[in-house]
């Protein structure tokens, strides 16, 4: 069994090695074909083609030098496009952007380059798109090439073994990870009788902030930084999943698809591990099946099918404000342009928030979403399971949690209200400042907090950093759960022995024991109802249940068993 376990781990490491290899063995060559495959707008493609000059058909071994010249070519191409547009617009340069363009065009190439990079850094996708729309409608000019396209250009310029045997490499990687982790999980858990298997959790490096944990943490953080801010570094891996993307939607893969694939595979494979680990508990088995199902279908496959049908590729289980861009102009506009389905999606999103969230949370607590449906929860409950014990149970952590999570809820609510008022008043409220706040929220909360910190710190702060300290949807659920819900974790009278397993394994950092040893029900806003406290309790003291709201919150109960005490001290 030990040999099998090691063999499984070896296969997974081979898979990881293969990914790293694939990031390094390719060379890159910009061709007319790769440009045309990436850029739909033929005018843009022409401009880039003519601006590329020496770069064209030249082989680059280094992705960095390739991207450097590619950026220069795009800058040149954009200069050409602007020059062309300015030539057209000479008569009506009344708007400020026109004037800016004009001054820009007289500047040297170097300075122009800086401007592009600055524009890229703040990623004014919305702004550009909106401006571009008006420009192209009024003047029929060509838009500047969005520098975001670089990643896809690199992907489509990949040449070498990966390009020749794309599917082979894809399935080889998937097979190594799948086979490896399945063998590992089976060998690990089937060698033990069903039951809690937390032996050595605080002795293994990976689950006790050891060297392996540091390596994994750094790896995760590096991956997220590349994914969010330097996705072209992952272009080879995006190329790797191309065949899957074509099979699902008929389109090539992008960085989002790569992330979705990795995420779903992680939930699926580590969900299998979770399933085996808790195979003695029906609640855990059903719950694990549920999160895995929702990740694979709602978050991954259904959006791809929608994309294939040329419909808005929405994750229909994602709810505002976790889905913070739901009310943002481009999403509303996209939905409005998609007829009945678009309207349905809009109404569905609203109904989830206004009807389903309060109703379901009243009946079942926030767990129906957080540990049964949600994608973030899905990852936490599968891949994150080995790290759940690392969440801080200090009261000080609880204080920080409450300040942070409700502040973020207030902030995203404010941004959304401004956005909506803006939408209905055509930008009279705070104008472009709205977009700026949206961008900053997306950057700070959407990327840094939810992604880099939320997942990158799994090995140090546990699996629910985002859900506990950041997620504004979790905050809404929490308020309902605390004040108006039938859900609670019941404490079984005086049976608690204060051992601390429940608190230790609470991923949300709830000091469960503090309640259990007092004979008090656990009614906490943050509880996601994963049920692991009840699993690890050696005395069967805890039970998750939905029931009458009377007596649900029992502050300072009298512990059963001692008739000497009639009133509370």
């Amino acid at each position: 069994m030990k040999i099998l376990r090691h063999a499984g781990m070896a296969l997974v490491l081979c898979g990881l090695g293969l990914l790293i290899l694939l990031l390094n063995i390719n060379h890159y060559s910009l061709t007319e074909k790769s440009i045309r495959a990436t850029i739909e707008d033929s005018a843009q493609a022409d401009a880039l083609l003519s601006a590329s000059g020496k770069l064209l058909n030249k082989n680059y071994d280094s992705k960095f030098s390739f991207v450097k010249v590619l950026n220069e070519s795009i800058a040149k191409a954009n200069e050409k496009i602007e020059a062309l547009n300015n030539g057209d617009e000479e008569e009506n340069k009344t708007d400020s952007s026109g004037q800016k363009n004009e001054t820009d065009s007289t500047d040297t190439g170097d300075e122009k380059d800086t401007a592009t990079i600055a524009g890229n850094a703040t990623d004014t996708a919305t702004l550009n798109a909106d401006n571009a729309d008006t420009v192209s409608q009024e003047d029929e000019g060509t838009d500047a090439i969005d520098t975001d396209i670089v990643t896809l250009l690199v992907k489509n310029s990949v040449e070498g073994p990966l390009e020749k045997h794309n599917s082979l490499f894809l399935w080889l990687t998937v097979a190594l990870f799948s086979l490896g982790s399945i063998i590992f999980s089976l060998a690990l858990y089937l060698s033990k009788p069903p039951g809690i298997s937390n032996n050595n959790v605080f002795k293994k490096s990976i689950s006790s902030k050891g060297v392996v944990a540091v390596i994994v943490g750094i790896g995760l953080i590096a991956f997220y930084c590349e994914l969010y801010w330097y996705p072209y570094l992952l272009a080879d891996l995006i190329k790797l999943v191309d065949p899957l993307s074509f099979a699902l939607s008929g389109y090539g893969a992008d960085d989002g698809f790569l992330y979705g694939t990795i995420y779903s595979l992680a939930v699926l494979l580590l969900g299998f591990k979770m399933f085996l680990k808790y195979r003695h508990s029906t609640y855990q088995k059903i719950r694990t099946l549920s999160v895995t199902f929702f990740q694979l279908s709602f978050a991954f496959i259904i959006p791809e099918i929608l994309r294939a049908l040329k419909k808005p590729a929405l994750d229909l289980k994602n709810i505002w404000p976790l889905d913070y861009s739901f009310f943002w102009n481009e999403n509303i506009s996209e939905l409005m342009q998609n007829g009945k389905l678009g309207i349905f999606m809009l109404v569905w999103g609203l109904a989830l928030l206004i009807i389903i969230v309060p109703l379901f949370t009243y009946f079942f607590g926030k767990r129906w979403y957080c540990s049964w449906v949600c994608g973030c929860g899905g990852l936490a409950e599968t891949a994150g399971d080995p790290f759940r014990q690392l969440s801080s149970k200090k009261i000080s952590a609880w204080k920080i949690e409450r300040i942070l999570i409700y502040s973020i809820l207030v902030i995203i609510t404010a941004i959304t209200i401004i956005t909506l008022v803006n939408y209905f008043t055509n930008g009279r409220l705070l104008g472009s400042a709205t977009e700026l706040t949206q961008e900053w929220y997306g950057f700070l909360i959407g990327s840094v907090f939810a992604g880099v910190i939320g997942t990158g710190l799994y090995p140090f702060m546990g699996s629910r950093v985002w859900c506990r300290f950041g997620c504004p949807l979790s905050a809404i659920f929490g308020i309902i759960q605390r004040f108006k819900s039938r859900f609670r974790i019941t404490t079984n009278g005086g049976q608690c022995i204060s051992c601390g397993n429940c608190s230790t394994y609470c991923e949300m950092g709830i000091d469960v024991r503090a309640y259990a040893q007092k004979g008090q029900n656990i009614v906490r806003a943050s509880c996601v109802g994963c049920g692991i406290c009840a699993e690890v309790c050696p005395r069967g003291v805890l039970k998750l249940e939905n029931g009458n709201t009377a007596g649900r919150i029992n502050n300072d109960p009298i512990i059963i068993g001692n008739n000497s005490i009639k009133v509370n001290l």
Binding site: P193, P194, G195, I196, N198, N199, N200, V201, F202, K203, K204, H280, S281, T282, Y283, I286, F363, F364, K394, I395, R486, T490, N492, G493, G494, Q495, I497, S498, C499, G500, N501, S503, T504, R513, A514, Q517, G531, A534, V536, P538, R539, G540, K543, L544, E545, N546, N548, T549, A550, I559, I560, G561, N562, N563, S564, I565, L569
Partner: protein, 444 residues
Amino acid sequence: MRKIVIIGNGISGVTCARNIRKKCDDEITIISGETEHFFSRTALMYIYMGHMKYEHTKPYEDWFWAKNRITLVTDYVSSVDTKNKTLHTKDKKIIPFDILIIASGSVTKKFDWPGQDLKGVVSLYSFQDLAEIETRTKDIKNAVIVGGGLIGIELAEMLHSRGIEVTMLVTEKYYWNGILPQSDAELVGKHITSNGIKVLYETGLKEITGDASDNVQSITTTTDKTIKCPLIGITTGVTPNISFLKDSGIETDKGILVNSFFETNITDVYAIGDCAEFREPVNGRKTIEQVWYTGRMHGETLAQTIAVGKTAYNPGPWFNSAKFLNLEYQTYGTVSAKIKEEETFFHWQHPGKYIAFTAVYNNASKEFIGVNVFGLKLRHEYLDKWLQEKVSIEYVLSNLPLAFFYKEFSGSYTTDIIESYNKQTGSAVQIAVKKKSFSFLNFK
């Protein structure tokens, strides 16, 4: 302001201190040489197995004590001077008190076996015991555990988790048969064996043999079998820790003798928890109560006396719980190992799984007396109520769905249990409470 000094920072002493603090402003000092802060003794096994670290076993954060003005002294009490109302410690400190609460717990009970003090003879009670086990179990292949009770199985599980081959010596015919009726004891024994732990029944310890450097080498059993082993765990029970009270004038027998108010023979000196021995059994219970829950109840009750007004110890129906490896066990009321004449046992066991339900009731009145459950959990609230109301066994069975405390989606065995009862007794008990489908739609 009275100076209240508590010896021992276990569950009894700490519960007492906390509850006194809630109601009054007296000076409170807790003395313990074991650890600076209160930790959960019951979790020692989980530290060893790597489920938790020591810090996780502390129910209160370290700032808690100063915030609640509870002074902690890390020291052992070496003697008590009741005349001058002072304590003398190992570090030669003299601590005065107005009220003394002794909650010094237990020590491992040994039976003067030859070789019992050799290196490698360990027990599992204190934090220091755990450290000893940790050092003594590096690179060992097998071990023998003497005594098959609740601590014995914990130690067995600990060693087993590190791949150490464990042999348990149990003097009874079945596992924990002094407490459990045969059917239950057999079930537990089977579960233990099925997990790869060897149990030798009707076997005790005769002597331990050491090598030249006083390390344990082997043991000889009462059946004259010799087992070579580098480690021997003694888990034959605990006895009150009272050796430091010699010459203090505090009356002791096995433990510190107290009345139902936890008063010793000396005014303002009380004893609670494992170390206390009731002069008269309270509510028909044992005179020495050595479990977590009773320690807590002693502490609560004495705090009431000290902070509010004189309160007698009046425990409700007995309850306890344990876990034998993966087998959960709960008991409510009185289920004795040997059936009494006026009692009837009802035993149900799942045909394939380690799940069992054993109830005891009075032959004539059918009054429900107690229940043991394995692999099932019952609600303390209902069992406590039913035992106090002295309801009948049939009432209990027909209301069983109310009392089950199982996880959502897990199977219910109510029908099997009731059917089995009806078959065994020729009764026609039916479930009185039906769980309504869509009960969550019941707005209340």
